[in-house]
């Protein structure tokens, strides 16, 4: 991708979960690293998130969820992204997501799932590396 263009990131909170300390901290850290960050706020439907991704023309979407509803919400978001022709956006997940569920989520096209204790630098590096390959 064009090196001059700043990476645009959508940080999204799908479902009814109100825990957004992690999402906000990550959003700040990505912004401080030079990326353009849009935060959806809490309690977003899959449709709202995909619309925001389309309107904001983002390169990557970070989905944060701690309520355990990822099994329903993540597949729905991936399906809508494909429907809207946004299947090439880098999608990452974070929050409380049991290891057992990770393979299935990756099969849907979610590139990586990050758990508690991840450093923001790990995420920044991951996004930069994966977008430059794309």
């Amino acid at each position: 991708m064009n090196q001059d263009k700043r990476i645009r990131v959508l940080v999204a909170k799908p479902g009814l979960d109100g825990h957004d300390r992690g999402a906000k901290v990550i959003a700040r850290a990505l912004r401080d690293s030079g990326m353009e960050v849009i935060y959806t706020g809490i309690r977003q439907t899959p449709e709202q998130i995909v619309d925001a991704a389309l309107q904001e023309d983002v390169d990557t979407i970070l989905l944060s969820i701690l309520s355990g509803a990822h099994g329903f919400l993540f597949p729905r978001i991936m399906e809508l992204l494909k429907e809207k022709g946004l299947g090439d956006i880098l999608v990452l997940g974070g929050g409380i997501i049991p290891e057992d569920d990770v393979p299935e989520l990756k099969e849907l096209g979610i590139s990586e799932i990050f758990g508690p204790g991840m450093s923001s630098q790990t995420l920044i590096n991951y996004i930069r590396e994966n977008l430059s390959q794309g």
Partner: protein
């Protein structure tokens, strides 16, 4: 004595220079910027007047304890926060916990219940029964408390926006058990302001939400006199990143808003203030947590007496529940959390908690299993019975460091409350985003300190090991949603739908007017109107709160 102080000051100077000064040592400070001295002496407590500032347990200003005999008279209530899946599964977990020696119940509801959606609502998909038990109607509450005598238990319910409805259901269950509501002991959280800032399960805008809260105050003061009608919460602010000082300050600011709302609604402060209770977060910094609770007791007593002119000593009394810090648990080497929880539980007890929930070691990964929740209950029992910390009241009182820290925290908290008063009170400060911004700043600073290694988190940023994936975690049955939807369908055919409709109409009329909302909510609940149906009526009349987020 003055001569003594002068001599001690001189000696401290000498010791600092000639003794300590010859060694290299770490400089420490609190998360809220107070430099912690290497040594505290009587010089640090010389401005504290024992009788005025510390006093005796059970007497103003309650610094040492709210009750005179404290744990010598009655231990704290051991009350693990629990609930998941269906009402049946939750009923089983409660019976198990009580059998293991738990002394009170604390109900965790799932997110659809907390936001007033039935399990068959489109926004409930994937969320039913996940973070707590699913409640769609009185029928679910009957099952949750099946075989549990409500006159012999105290029950805390973490419910906010629809608190009036869940309370109404609890009252209806009691009636079915043949128990008068005047005998019921328990608590509803009923604290909407922190939902707007950090927790997110809001439904209605500020005005109608405060009306619901004051209607509950009024109704319970007459009909459910032993019920704690509000459990003002600092817990979630701390989880969101607030410092210990911010936790108390912002919670007290919210409390001041509620007390003002009650007075504005025409209630006498002493009619509802004695039923105010609290939930806070007991975090890692051991002495700071103990000082925090001592400072909070003293400051709340002063606020109630001086600011609000409350004259009933029970209005001055700060009684709190606490849970250990979920955000302090690590997903890495989860067994290390057993140790963290034990220290936090000990700090809560030394801080004088009335009710306590200890987290389980696996909670950074999943809801706790029977085995892990039993271990955290045992942690409380060991502290209660084996290590001697309950043998005298406020054993930390008089420590130079603790008393000095208590005073400094009280001052810092007071400064924050002044700032919020200047902004027009908590609701205005929330609307301006002030409280959210302050908490976010603290959260970001903490994260940077963890990532830079300035803050050591054992097993997470230091002392790491390669470890296998955790095994034996609790998994909520994915069928819960389908089970609830089936039960809802059956309910809607079995109940008297005409009765439901007229109850909902009566509720709407009351909502459009000014009368107390509790009676029509109780009628609707007894007719088996669902939580979602009742909330929808209120949504139509009151509108919905629009959340905003700034980063």
């Amino acid at each position: 004595m003055e001569e003594d102080i002068e001599k001690i000051q001189e000696e401290t100077k000498r010791w600092n220079k000639d003794c300590l000064g010859k060694h290299t040592f770490r400089k420490c400070e609190t998360d809220w910027g107070l430099e912690i001295k290497p040594l505290y002496t009587v010089d640090d407590t010389k401005d504290i007047n024992y009788l005025e500032d510390i006093g005796f347990p059970g007497e103003y200003p309650f610094t040492r304890a709210p009750h005179p005999s404290m744990y010598l008279g009655k231990l704290w209530t051991m009350r693990q926060y629990s609930g998941y899946g269906t009402a049946d599964e939750t009923n089983k977990r409660y019976k198990y916990l009580l059998q293991q020696g738990q002394t009170g119940l604390s109900v965790a509801f799932d997110l659809p219940t907390q936001i007033g959606y039935d399990s068959d609502h489109s926004l409930s998909q994937g969320e039913v029964g996940k973070v707590g038990v699913a409640v769609d109607s009185l029928a679910d509450m009957e099952t949750i408390f099946n075989g549990l005598p409500l006159d012999k238990l105290s029950t805390s319910m973490t419910i906010n926006a629809p608190a009036a409805i869940l309370l109404a259901m609890y009252l209806a269950v009691a009636e079915k058990q043949g128990i008068g509501t005047e005998k019921l002991n328990g608590t509803i959280q009923n604290d909407i302001l922190k939902e707007y800032t950090v927790r997110g399960t809001y439904i209605f805008p500020v005005g109608p939400s405060l009306r619901l809260i004051t209607d509950i105050f009024e109704y319970c003061s007459k009909h459910v006199p032993k019920w704690n009608t509000i459990n003002i919460a600092g817990y979630h602010m701390r989880e969101a990143g607030a410092t210990a000082v911010q936790e108390i300050a912002f919670t007290f600011a919210d409390a001041i808003e509620y007390v003002n709302a009650g007075i504005k609604a025409g209630l006498r402060v002493d009619d509802f203030a004695p039923r105010i209770s609290w939930i806070f977060n007991t975090h890692n910094n051991f002495f700071e947590e103990i000082a925090k609770y001592r400072a909070a007791r003293r400051l709340w007593a002063k606020i109630m007496k001086k600011r609000f002119g409350a004259s009933d000593p029970r209005s001055w009394m700060f009684r709190f529940h606490t849970q250990t810090a979920g955000s302090a648990l690590t997903a890495q080497q989860p067994l290390n959390n057993v140790v963290r929880v034990a220290f936090q539980t000990l700090a809560a007890v030394l801080g004088g908690a009335q009710s306590l929930a200890s987290c389980s070691f696996d909670e950074a990964l999943a809801l706790p299993t029977e085995e892990s929740v039993r271990l955290s209950l045992r942690t409380q029992q060991i502290i209660a019975h084996e290590i001697g910390v309950t043998d005298t009241v406020d054993p930390m009182g008089g420590s130079f460091y603790i008393e000095s820290l208590t005073k400094k925290m009280e001052e810092k908290i007071t400064d924050y409350i002044k700032r919020i008063d200047e902004l027009g009170g908590a609701a205005a400060a929330i609307e301006k985003g002030y409280i959210q911004q302050e908490i976010q700043e603290s959260a970001y600073r903490y994260q940077k300190e963890v990532e830079s290694g300035k803050k050591v988190v054992v097993g997470m940023n230091s002392y790491q090991v390669e470890e296998p994936l955790p095994k034996g975690l609790l998994k909520v049955d994915t069928e819960v949603g389908a089970i609830q939807i089936k039960k809802l369908k059956e309910l809607k055919t079995a109940r008297d739908n005409q009765k439901v409709q007229s109850a909902l109409l009566a509720l709407r009329k009351t909502a459009e007017g000014y009368a107390n909302l509790m009676p029509p909510i109780i009628e609707a609940v007894k007719a088996y109107a669902t939580l979602g149906e009742i909330c929808d009526v209120l949504r139509e009349v009151f509108g919905e709160y629009e959340g905003t987020s700034v980063i």
